[in-house]
Subunit: 135 residues, 4 copies
């Protein structure tokens, strides 16, 4: 198992020279912070806010995973060429259905630079039925 690079590591780097390295590998989760129980919602995961990642046979993003705490909800496996063999921003959207509040994390795997972890994303899950029964 590799060292896992995390989104928080990037803040330690002042110099621009390493920012691209972190930016293009670190997955970012984009989804609502509050959802309703039993209502499906999309979780968008993308890589590279500024810098695109290569899509070469010896250097590509091979996996994007979505975890809820210890649980792997879904993962995308991507083969080289999906991004046209050129630099691009990998992006996957999974749709999930929540039961209780979640702590989501995304992981991405680069075939040359290993495993990268997003910042965690708290998703509060409202329970409408329970709210009704309280009144």
């Amino acid at each position: 198992m590799p060292k896992i690079f995390t989104a928080t590591d990037i803040q330690q780097f002042d110099k621009e020279v390493q920012k691209d390295y972190f930016d293009r590998h670190t997955p970012v989760i984009d989804c609502p912070s509050e959802v309703n129980e039993n209502e499906r919602f999309p979780v968008r995961i993308f890589l590279g806010s500024q810098y695109a990642h290569p899509d070469d046979g010896d250097h590509f993003i091979g996996k994007v995973q979505l975890w809820n705490r210890e649980t792997l909800l879904a993962e995308a496996t991507i083969f080289p060429g999906a991004m046209g063999n050129q630099p691009g921003h990998v992006e996957v959207v999974f749709t999930i259905i929540p039961k209780v509040s979640m702590n989501l994390t995304a992981m991405s795997y680069c075939t040359k630079h290993g495993l990268w972890q997003s910042l965690p994303k708290e998703v509060k899950v409202n329970h409408p039925d329970q709210q009704c029964s309280k009144s």
Copy 2:
């Protein structure tokens, strides 16, 4: 390898009783019919226009794949529970970058009912640079 069930099979079934079976398993591709070379675009794949699929440990959608002709571009592996262990519409969005015109197909895999194939989706790829050079 199982028999592969295809979206065209559904039209052979007049009776409502089997429509749900086909509808909830067959993936549908939603993406533009015309895109530009080297411009990333999203390909949405969803299951069940009307009928939702269970998410039980012994019966769930375990895979959604995106093919371009003979080539597997990307696939999602989904573990039971991602849809809250209740019926839902599985949906994945992959982002790809095109070089030449594509013939996309989606596949879904149900752990109980095997492998299902979408209708093909032609995507015409425009080559802006070539158009310029013609003028």
Copy 3:
């Protein structure tokens, strides 16, 4: 979904020139023909009885799957470089536990030449307890 190439197609080709093409892509299942219920046994899947397959970034064996009829039991995803970026014989062994008689098929996926299917392998499953109770 691509055309699926099958092990039986190879017999149509007399000429040596195409034999290597079929040989290096077609998975072969190697496992006992008769096993006992509830006793784990290995299923070996290998590619290329004579001809080795490249392991290049734009041309590698990316998947090896084991199916029992309509059911995907397990699959290996292989990234380029696992075979040292040189021609080799991909091989995976899965261990499974049988309940009733099986009809196994292996699939392999080449990133350049698509999806290939093995000959089916019948595995008879003996039920020792039932045999005892008969006597």
Copy 4:
């Protein structure tokens, strides 16, 4: 991303009650400690030296991965039922071809108890050609 449980954690637990928990989840690598460059060799990964793991829809071993340092060489995805829906020892054998000395690690993923890491396995790679050229 979950906490990653490691094979070394098990030594902290004196009491038998937790030994089964660690034993049945922790992958173990079985392969030669010394191999030749460019010669394929099998890497066997198994779970549970003593205790078998369930294969239920809500609790199964879903993944077994083989890493060389930061690099994911191959992974098996296993669907519930492959082990007959009963406790068993998951086992996968990957075949790889080495170039230089390796530091292998296996990971396993349990859908209920998260991600587990093996002890690392050093594999020394001999370079026969270089030895010849020295003499």
